[in-house]
């Protein structure tokens, strides 16, 4: 409950920031992409509340905003964690058992690929080749690279981000 309330106050504050940012774009339909990028920088993701503000400010439909947000993989509809975990599923990693590493990550974090933990600490994504095939399978957490991963190493590594 406490967490949820904190989340709401944070969002309310960030929405005010977004509104301020939007002032300089009022009525500029063509600024949609730029505005969404700036909004995501402020909030971290683009919930419907942000999309509504953008639609109102730029005088476009919410539907158009949502269509744009879901088109570009850069935009997130859901909050992202403080630590973004990317588990490589490229060919080399895959043949070396990356799927099992990913399954263990999902199990340890209690979330599925694409989701974020409730405490907003971790988000988990699968990605394609990161160019470190010699170290396969590879997991990247923010800027840290972990090579030669096994499912059993997962809990150990996550401890580094307590």
């Amino acid at each position: 409950m406490e967490l949820a309330t904190k989340k709401d106050t944070d969002l309310a504050e960030k929405l005010r920031e977004v509104e301020k940012m939007l002032e300089k774009y009022k009525g500029q339909k063509g600024a949609l992409l730029q505005v969404l990028q700036e909004a995501q920088k402020i909030v971290g993701y683009l919930p419907i509340e942000v999309q509504k503000l953008v639609a109102e400010a730029l005088n476009v439909t919410l539907s158009e905003v949502y269509s744009t947000v879901t088109f570009y993989s850069f935009f997130n509809l859901k909050p992202r964690g403080k630590y973004q975990i990317r588990s490589c599923l490229g060919t080399a990693c895959y043949v070396k058992g990356a799927d099992k590493v990913l399954a263990r990550l999902e199990q340890e974090l209690g979330i599925k690929v694409g989701d974020t933990t409730d405490d907003l600490k971790f988000s988990l994504d699968a990605c394609r080749c990161v160019g470190a095939c010699g170290l396969a399978p590879v997991v990247i957490i923010n800027d840290d690279v972990y090579g030669r991963m096994t499912p059993d190493k997962v809990p150990e590594i996550l401890k580094n981000y307590e």
Binding site: P47, I48, E49, Q51, K52, A55, T61, L62, S63, E64, Y66, S67, T70, F71, Y72, S73
Partner: protein, 583 residues
């Protein structure tokens, strides 16, 4: 005008600069196949069905968006062109729900027709199909994305023609789906149920919510007294479904057909329209004389009403409190008519045949139960009643002329013109003028409010007072007009707004024309002209002269705006959110 010379398949053509290859080809009788193209509405060159070879161009070009230029050589029928079109079409078909014989658009489907015209005999590609959604939560419109070909004609219509914009292509690539935000149902977003998207759809991905079963059941039930009303615009469109040509007038064939289908009485919404004019005309005068909220805005179009509630709630007090003709009819049928005939209103089943999908929503509104029952039990579109008649083996075209039943089938030309844009305004002016002046109108045709122009204005002098009126049809035009009023750039006493372009003749429940036919034919204007012809041929052309309406006031309601009238014939409106709540 600067002219451009080019050749198409070796044939010389001269067309104005700016013409597309598609238009130039049509000029010499060459039909280039199209699918995503809808003239004036969706010209985006997305589907690649219309590709042609242009000499010197790097790749095949989309004729629908490719402008002509001097000396251009175009080839529309080369092996490369034919193969490209076939591959594209087969790819579309490979991801399409091919339930053609049971599809509502069977034999009226542009995809099906193209497959036939391009000689597709098999589909070379097999593979995964996109994850589809069937959304039938809206009382008016059903979405079946298993049939969607992502042409975006509905999207352009919803955004640009109607200014509503609640559907878009969401996600990307193979996952792309035309849907409301967060893939919600149309029922959860600020859709106004106008059904213009259905008219734009080349396939069966958008259709009306089918209520024919409800009506078949009622017709079967010996306990039920089943009565039917037909809207003004249906009499100039239903014939189209039976091969009678665009805008054929079938007013007198309809009673014959509907009687043979089993309805106990066949009545006319034009009666309800005359009644609406009596109430709304007096409401206008009341507001004018006693400083009420002006401009008064008409309330017959349920798509417009819901639009106003979602997008322009600041105008709700301007809306006439009059129910629409359909709902006035229903309320009168289950009270006055029930009493007069000695029938228990719970046994009366009222069916409406409407050019409209939004009427399906309107009849379910909680305010529309002033008889103590749901005033109108089922609404069928023009398309649905055509299907029922065909199923019953009744050929409308071969029906004899018959009359509507009394008393709710008696009407005037003023009621009939409700079916065309400007008609409600004209009907109201005919009555208001005579009520105020006590004099007979010399010329009852107010042509200034007629026609296909998006926004029309006129000034009418009544007893020395200049009454300023405006008419808008198509909700994007309504937006323009309302914004003008809001920003005090224009001032009016009386405004008519219809959700659909052309008014009800262009309603979302009307027969569907292909993009090909719409290229050359302004079907709304044709049906609209037919409506005015209906009016011209009526012996009575002013609502206050309708003897059945006069009798209704004498025996039951008292006078316009009486307490009883307010109870049965008037309603109220609710502001609604523009956006859905967060997921």
């Amino acid at each position: 005008m600067e002219m451009v010379n080019l050749t198409i398949d070796g044939e010389k053509v001269q067309v104005p600069k700016g013409t597309t290859v598609l238009e130039a080809a049509r000029k010499i009788g060459k039909k280039i196949p199209t699918l995503c193209f809808l003239k004036g509405i969706n010209e985006i060159g997305a589907c690649r069905m219309c590709v042609v070879e242009v000499k010197g161009a790097r790749a095949l070009q989309a004729a629908c968006v490719y402008p002509v230029s001097e000396g251009m050589e175009v080839y529309t029928n080369t092996p490369a062109v034919r193969e490209a079109r076939k591959v594209t079409l087969e790819l579309l078909l490979s991801d399409h729900n091919l339930e053609c014989p049971t599809c509502v658009r069977n034999l009226n489907c542009e995809l099906q027709k193209l497959a036939e015209e391009l000689g597709i005999k098999s589909i070379r590609f097999t593979g995964e199909k996109h994850k589809a959604k069937y959304d039938d939560f809206s009382p008016s419109i059903v979405r079946d994305t298993s049939k969607c070909i992502l042409c975006r004609r509905c999207v352009s219509t919803c955004h640009n023609v109607q200014g509503v914009g609640v559907i878009s292509p969401n996600h990307r690539g193979f996952e792309t789906m035309v849907a409301p935000v967060y893939d919600m149902s149309l029922a959860e977003v600020a859709c106004v149920n106008c059904g213009q998207c259905i008219l734009a759809c080349p396939v069966g991905a958008l259709k009306e919510k089918d209520d024919t079963d409800k009506v078949w059941q009622a017709l079967q039930d010996p306990e039920k007294h089943v009565i039917v009303q037909i809207a003004p615009a249906v009499r100039v469109s239903l014939g189209e479904e039976f091969g009678l040509g665009r805008g054929a007038i079938v007013t007198k064939k309809i009673p014959a057909a509907l009687r043979r289908l089993g309805f106990d009485r066949v009545f006319d919404t034009d009666f309800g329209a005359d009644l609406t004019i009596m109430e709304e005309g007096h409401e206008f005068l009341e507001r004018l004389e006693h400083g009420g909220k002006l401009p008064l805005i008409t309330s017959c179009s349920p798509g417009w009403i819901k639009f106003c509630e979602h997008y322009y709630p600041e105008f709700l007090e301007n809306l006439s409190t009059c129910k629409s003709p359909q709902q006035m009819f229903g309320a009168v049928a289950k009270t006055y008519y029930a009493q007069k005939m000695g029938i228990d209103p719970s046994k009366i089943f009222v069916v409406s045949i409407m050019p409209c999908t939004a009427k399906k929503y309107e009849c379910q509104r909680p305010e529309m139960r002033s008889s103590g029952y749901q005033d109108v039990d089922a609404v069928l579109t023009t398309r649905e009643i055509a299907r029922m008649l065909k199923e019953a083996g009744i050929n409308l075209a071969a029906m004899p002329d018959e009359e509507f039943d009394e008393p709710l089938g008696i009407s005037t030309g003023a009621g009939a013109i409700f079916g065309a844009t400007g008609g409600v305004m004209e009907a109201a002016l005919r009555t208001v003028y005579e009520v105020v002046t006590g004099k007979e109108l010399e010329n009852i045709e107010f042509t200034g409010v007629r026609g296909v122009e998006g926004i029309k204005e006129a000034v009418v002098e009544i007893n020395g007072m200049k009454i300023k009126v405006a008419v808008a049809h198509g909700l994007a035009n309504a937006r323009k007009l309302l914004d003008r009023v809001k920003n005090k750039e224009a001032e009016y006493h009386f405004i008519e707004i219809m959700a659909c372009p052309g008014g009800c003749v262009g309603g979302g429940g009307q027969p569907i024309l292909s993009a090909d036919e719409r290229f050359d034919v302004d079907y709304r204007a044709i049906r609209g002209n037919a409506i005015y012809e209906v009016d011209r041929k009526m012996p009575l052309r002013k609502s206050h002269e309708n003897p059945a309406v006069q009798q209704l006031y004498k025996e039951f309601l008292g006078k316009p705006l009486s307490e009883k009238s307010h109870e049965l014939l008037h309603t109220h409106y609710t502001p609604r959110p523009r956006y859905p709540e967060a997921e």
